[in-house]
Symmetry: C2
Subunit: 275 residues, 2 copies
């Protein structure tokens, strides 16, 4: 028995998590668990964990680290009271030697006691904030995927992790540019402020109407193309590192955490703390 | 030949770094390299690096990670174009098995190719911002060290790293409390917003006039004691972990980076980037 999107849209967070965990919901998480931080996922063998963490620290805009598991422990205890990373994401992609090898809705039989799980902030958080400020998001209003481009901006490498930064583009009315920059800078765990605005060629994008990932979106008169660091960047870096195994969320199918979207830090205090 | 504090106070950053590197300056760095981010230092054997990084990610207020070296590479290339962590801090403490074993002004002969260096944000940044807003800092005006206390707040453990959070206290006029909270929250890499304000007993501090570290400071009428997470917390966690060797800065003797204090992220872009 499956649960449909419309039902879950009006459900609370425990109900959403229960449906995902029980395998009753396998679809995207946009608009679910309103008010709670959603995260991208990367699971790696422990031998790669220190370099990947360094890569995230050095590239905080594309890779805003919001949580790290203990080695071999699937419970992401800093992000929720009972999040089991093996079952609590609606769909996973499994890469072997850097190549997509399959997908799954439960990775209990793939998880090993040598693995480390990383949660990275995603753009939902700042898009929500922009829409609350009355900035339209064309791709959301038109039910498409935001356009994404491989830019010429180099990431800062760490061990085998390296590559160009992937950026997402949103067309913003020229007179609201400063406001958009200020609002998105307030969300460093959701890619922060834009990395570029104006001429796409300056960051190596020849044609802004032909994205490398996602769907095309218009740049109407009076609008400026604004580019944010994108969560596809770590996937490109993971392909470059080509670990024997790596598990990610399926794009759009995020981990929904217990952390409020406007929390100052993405960490639950230990349960024995009184403050 | 040594350089004195008053001379360096009016020097630019390259001159300050050159004096420190050449061993001509061994004293504290408050007020030096104005406008640049200063950082606490912890150097550990690589076997401890992943757990220490997890500890920092899980405790971002006391341990705001601003830079991590490659294993065995003493050049902190994300924090400056030529920072050599073996020579560019005015004074170091060396711990063996968790106990202070000595101090040094140069650690070239102690550094090994198995070591990882971590830079952590410090309170100078938010104190500067508060003073610019006209909030007096009693300990600075009176040339004392801020009072610090071992609180009852538990850190989130990671491997062998654990312990109570150490907090620093500043007395703030009651009518400026909201403003102080808002300003300091803007500096997540400098301990962020306060962790507590009001009754010290609520976080296990029996007598706010008797600090565990630093000097006592008054709480005048109309003022509220405000507590921030403190950079001594990782030192307590390092003692708990008791690695065979650990090197830190000597308190007050910080690493001065090339990063602007108000930078959105504490990372220099690779030199080959055009943007």
């Amino acid at each position: 028995m499956t649960t449909d999107y419309e039902t879950l849209r009006h459900a609370d967070l425990p109900q959403v998590r229960a449906a995902i965990r029980a395998g009753r919901y396998h679809s995207h998480t946009a608009g679910l668990g309103a008010g709670y931080l959603q995260a991208n996922l990367a699971i790696l063998p422990s031998a790669y964990a220190l370099d990947f963490m360094r890569f995230c620290q050095r590239n905080p805009k594309p890779c805003p680290l919001t949580g790290v598991s203990d080695t071999g422990n699937p419970m992401m205890f800093t992000l929720g009271r009972d999040i089991d990373i093996r079952t609590d994401v609606p769909a996973y992609n499994i890469y072997r030697d850097g190549k997509l090898a399959g997908s799954a809705t439960d990775i209990t039989d793939v998880w090993t006691d040598d693995m480390v799980a990383f949660a990275l902030g995603c753009s939902f958080t700042f898009e929500d904030a922009l829409m609350r400020a009355g900035i339209p998001m064309w791709h959301i209003d038109n039910d498409t995927t935001v356009p994404m481009f491989r830019s010429s901006i180099e990431t800062v490498p760490a061990g085998p992790f390296r590559g160009k930064m992937v950026v997402s583009m949103r067309a913003i009315p020229r007179d609201r540019l400063d406001e958009v920059r200020d609002i998105s800078r307030r969300y460093p765990l959701a890619h922060g402020g834009p990395v570029h605005w104006g001429d796409p060629a300056e960051i190596g994008i020849a044609d802004p109407t032909r994205p490398d990932w996602g769907d095309p979106a218009p740049i109407p008169d009076g609008h400026v193309p604004v580019f944010w660091a994108c969560g596809v960047t770590p996937q490109v870096a993971l392909e470059a590192a080509s670990p024997p195994i790596c598990i990610t969320h399926k794009p759009g199918h995020m981990l929904i955490t217990d952390i409020a979207e406007d929390a100052e830090t993405p960490v639950l205090p230990p349960e024995n703390n009184e403050t």
